[in-house]
């Protein structure tokens, strides 16, 4: 079996293992654990767009909301009709949840396609603004759909998200992004980021690469949204505003754009930090902003942007030579 596939299976098995013992874990830690996993999905998927392909998107929360609403609509409103009055057995619920997550992801991917085709012709600042604009438009639309709760959002979403689901999808996200970028096809993402004009000159269809990155990123954002909805049990349009997008962007930048390991570490750090510093919650966003500015001034390639393989080798080498 190829190594990445083996790693994916191992991660899913580990997630299932942890999930079996989740009854013995303190609920607070379980919550934090799931929050970390969801943020890893969001950050790694955004990294494909912002990092590897070099297209600065500020609308990730918008795609997340599409997935969250679509999957919540399936389990909350369509669910009782499908499962019957009894609520269905556990495997039935799991199957429904899986369908809801995948459909939520596909819905977000469709939204990504609709947003991406026109806006990816733009560059830099303009692209950032247009994606931000689309994110806001999606939010306003949800605020105006009465059957989805309008501005109040949806309540009483079934509690389906478990550690298993979160970490299986987190592993799948990392697997997809890493394999995609390392494949022959995926080199085109990095080429697009490095030099768009040169890539076009050698015959790469950069627009298509950008759209593929955008759609794949949106799919996983939608899945993360579905997981988030069935974890928080209530979603409102305002929960997916500009600030949420910024939070994800900060994870990507802090981790080092185009560096999956770094981005995962940053996602973990930035989810745990507010938990540790709960007393200082009002300073959280100030710290985020100062971190962004200082980072750009002092270490513009990201805090965790190392060559990890080389780092490990060097550490191992040192351990071996040490007496």
């Amino acid at each position: 079996m190829p190594r990445p596939l083996a790693a994916l299976l191992l991660a899913v098995l580990a997630a299932a293992g942890v999930s079996l013992f989740s009854g013995h874990i303190d609920p607070y830690y379980l919550d934090v654990l799931m929050g970390v996993g969801i943020n890893v999905i969001l950050a790694v998927s955004l990294n494909l767009v912002n990092g590897y392909t070099g297209q600065f998107s500020l609308g990730h929360a918008g795609f997340m909301s599409v997935g969250a609403y679509l999957s919540a609509w399936i389990t909350l409103i369509e669910g009782p009709r499908i499962l019957g009055a009894s609520g269905g057995t556990a495997p039935e619920q799991a199957a429904l949840f899986l369908c809801a997550l995948v459909l939520g992801g596909l819905g977000a991917a469709a939204a990504g396609l609709v947003v991406g085709i026109p806006s990816l012709r733009l560059k830099g600042d303009y692209l950032a603004l247009v994606t931000l604009g689309f994110g806001e438009i999606i939010r306003v639309i949800f605020q105006n759909i009465d059957s989805l709760g309008g501005a109040l959002g949806l309540n009483g979403i079934p509690n389906y998200t478990t550690v298993f689901w979160v970490y299986s999808f987190a592993a799948l996200t990392v697997f997809t992004v890493v394999c995609l970028v390392r494949s022959t096809y995926g080199r085109g993402f990095i080429a697009t980021q490095d030099d768009e004009i040169a890539s076009e000159a050698v015959g790469l269809n950069t627009t298509r690469y950008k759209i593929v990155a955008f759609v794949v990123g949106a799919f996983f954002a939608g899945v993360a949204g579905g997981l988030y909805g069935h974890f928080k049990l209530t979603i409102t349009p305002d929960g997916f505003d500009f600030t949420k997008s910024i939070e994800i962007v900060v994870m990507v930048i802090l981790g080092g754009m185009g560096n999956t390991t770094g981005v995962i570490l940053a996602a973990i750090l930035l989810t745990l930090l507010p938990e540790v510093l709960r007393a200082a919650d009002q300073y959280r966003m100030i710290m985020y902003s100062v971190a962004l500015i200082v980072l750009m001034l002092a270490r513009p390639k990201g805090l965790f942007n190392f060559d990890y393989a080389r780092l490990v080798r060097r550490l191992l080498g040192r351990a071996r030579t040490a007496p």
Partner: protein, 296 residues
């Protein structure tokens, strides 16, 4: 007909405020080619300076109102120059993306520091200007609206004069055209950029005070939405183009006011973004901008 005129008046006064903010975006874009995301928060700080200054000034008089506005303009000019000096200047040679991220960081910093310093709860804005209301054939004209339109018009004419008739204005246009060539003929680019930031921030502060007296509550996040819309107005008119920013702002103000008055009012906030997306797709250089081909 009266209702139409009323909406027209409301739209023009909203557009005048957008114009004051949009000018700052467009001028900074002209000389530095980047979107100063923090501009909308300078606008917010301007409204707050006006709020605090207003507490020490007589309420309900034209003089007191103008004095509060002048204080806000001076304070924000200093803030704008400081932001440029300490945050943007060290990054002048880095990539667009880094500057963009820094600008977002600066914007968040001002917003959340504002929440800490000013408090997150919205506050009622004092009536700085006389609250006289005149009714002409059923058309309601408030003193505030008159102040907004007159002040905005005066400031825009003054800006036009500063940019086209003064030495520093000429230098500004030279930097916008070609920074390297401007430096060769002896223009001190740093001074010009500082001046641009000061001027833009002062206009945003005036916009902040005028916005606050018309929409009488302020909070540290008040700048986000008007800031975005003013930016859209600048893009609509052709970014980097000063009359374009004013025109775009006027159009946006009118469109928004009329949408707000129709039964589509809940979509008011989305319409500006729809305009932005439309203009970027079909005429990226804006209404008055000139399209220039990108050189390889």
């Amino acid at each position: 007909m009266t209702e139409f005129l009323q909406q027209l008046l409301n739209g023009i006064s909203l557009g005048a405020i957008y114009a004051l903010i949009a000018l700052g975006y467009t001028m900074v874009y002209g000389v530095l080619r980047f979107i100063n995301f923090a501009h909308s928060d300078v606008f917010m700080v301007g409204a707050f300076i006006g709020y605090y200054a207003g507490q020490h000034l007589p309420h309900g008089t034209i003089g007191g109102g103008l004095a509060a506005m002048a204080a806000a303009m001076v304070g924000c000019a200093i803030l704008g120059i400081a932001i440029e000096r300490f945050v943007y200047r060290p990054l002048r040679s880095s990539s667009t993306l880094n500057v963009l991220i820094t600008a977002i960081g600066m914007s968040l910093f001002l917003e959340y520091t504002g929440q800490l310093v000013f408090g997150a709860t919205p506050r009622a804005y004092p009536a700085l200007f006389p609250s006289t209301i005149v009714s002409v054939h059923g058309l309601i004209i408030s003193m505030n609206q008159v102040v907004v339109i007159v002040v905005a018009a005066i400031l825009m004419v003054a800006l036009q004069f500063a940019v086209f008739r003064t030495k520093i204005g000429t230098a500004m246009r030279a930097v916008a055209l070609n920074p390297a060539a401007a430096r060769l003929v002896g223009i001190n680019i740093d001074v010009v950029i500082s001046f641009t930031f000061g001027l833009g921030s002062a206009l945003a502060a005036a916009g902040g005070v005028l916005y606050a007296i018309n929409y009488p509550s302020i909070d540290p996040l008040m700048g986000v939405v008007p800031g975005l819309k003013a930016f859209i107005a600048a893009v609509l008119g052709g970014i980097g183009n000063i009359p374009g920013a004013a025109l775009g702002a006027l159009i946006l103000g009118l469109v928004e006011t009329f949408v707000d008055g129709s039964h589509w009012s809940t979509y008011k906030d989305a319409i500006a973004f729809a305009i932005l997306i439309g203009i970027l797709l079909f005429r990226p250089a804006g209404l008055l901008g000139r399209f220039t081909a990108e050189k390889v």
